[in-house]
Subunit: 249 residues, 2 copies
Amino acid sequence: MSGNAARSGVSVVSRAMAVLTTFDQDHARLTLTEIARRADLPLATAHRLVGELARAGALTRAEGGEYVVGRTLWDVGLLAPVQVDLREVAAPFLQDLYGATLATVHLAVRERLRALYVDRLVGNRSVPVVSRVGSRLPLHSTGVGKVLLAHAPADVREQALLSLEQVTPFTVTQPARLQRQLTRVLTDGFATTSEEMSLGACSVAVPVADRRGDVVAALGIVVASLRRDQGRLVSALTVAAKGIGRSLA
Amino acid sequence: MSGNAARSGVSVVSRAMAVLTTFDQDHARLTLTEIARRADLPLATAHRLVGELARAGALTRAEGGEYVVGRTLWDVGLLAPVQVDLREVAAPFLQDLYGATLATVHLAVRERLRALYVDRLVGNRSVPVVSRVGSRLPLHSTGVGKVLLAHAPADVREQALLSLEQVTPFTVTQPARLQRQLTRVLTDGFATTSEEMSLGACSVAVPVADRRGDVVAALGIVVASLRRDQGRLVSALTVAAKGIGRSLA
DNA sequence: AGCCTCCTTCCACTGGCCGGAATCCTAGTG
DNA sequence: CACTAGGATTCCGGCCAGTGGAAGGAGGCT
């Protein structure tokens, strides 16, 4: 009658991973109870798993008793080959771009219906932004997202147009209007946003094409206003994007 | 007689973590057999664990059949609070420093008897270096290491002086000589190396002190030669380090 | 073919995992 | 101070998931 009632049949490993993936950018520190709830595990089970993960260094206990991702996982995670060639090649160009504009610089690739930010540079006097390395943001409300979407296969574009979340009052949510913008992105060679992702932040972005001409990433910068020198920014971005493309294998 | 002979008594979780920690900077892609050997697990056991980890997204199978760290772990690992305040505060200063010098810029903290590189900027025309974010390099053969060691507690210094690995022909391996250098680091306010970590690379580094005056990190740059403008580099580094220190909470 | 290395599958045994329940903490409340 | 509420921790018997030696592919090289 007592003891283990319904062993759910999933492996320990997948449960442990479920615990780990309860952490995300908005939930970087969690209590045991939250972990159990989010991973859908009995409290006692979560307690044991979390304890073992902590002992192994995968999790660490913060001051308040909450759990955070541990240093060991940081080490291991850094080894993941997530766009490493692209990032290594692009890094110097991002730095030059930052030096020339002093604006926040973004490098993103498309991951299904999201823009995955693989690298980022933020300055002292830059406009505050929500993105971080590893962030996944909507394709329709960011500069890099629009570029990636404009160059995406037709089926991806169609699916993306089906659900346009209203992030700020200025987010473009009408499919027809966004479609027109995407067409212009292809002809103009760059995309812009005006407070469509976060208030007070505008952005410009250009595609990064490899030697075969395929768009593999988008390069963008975030500024307070585009009124002034949009032309100069587009030029700087284009030069950097070309440089990255040429350096890709 | 058959079946499971000696269940070693360790949990599945710790075994899974043992598998994950077989990966390091010099072994970013491993075959199943290598994993089993390095984690000291029977092949069949390693095979099952690796399979489950791969199914959970913690590992990915590369083209050649080797395993690499998966995207899921990259996501989770990025959430680890490893010097996040320091890194966020320092990032803009590193970028300015790169802009002013076009040299590779390093930010490192001390982790026991190693220098842990928490951030890094590498340019197009920079001297090639071995460090990456997450690298742990010796304290006695790197610029940032010497700074961190000079400001470390006495017991740490003593212990570090006991084993000075000869990395290149120019590495300082005599304890007395290194001790004299460390004393100078304290009076001069900066440390230098000349091809002591890798041939063809020299470095300058300065301490980053928080508001209480405690040295919490070291900031360094790597150049081909120090002959020319060591003074200018030290100045730029000092300014940046002061700025970081002032911005720390 | 023969040999070698690495990968995959099989299967009987058993000890580590499971999780409801009880207990221990805090912190907040009347 | 007693009481409550929410979370964290410990307990413990039952049982199945994990274990790993062995055997069987799959290539590659001589």
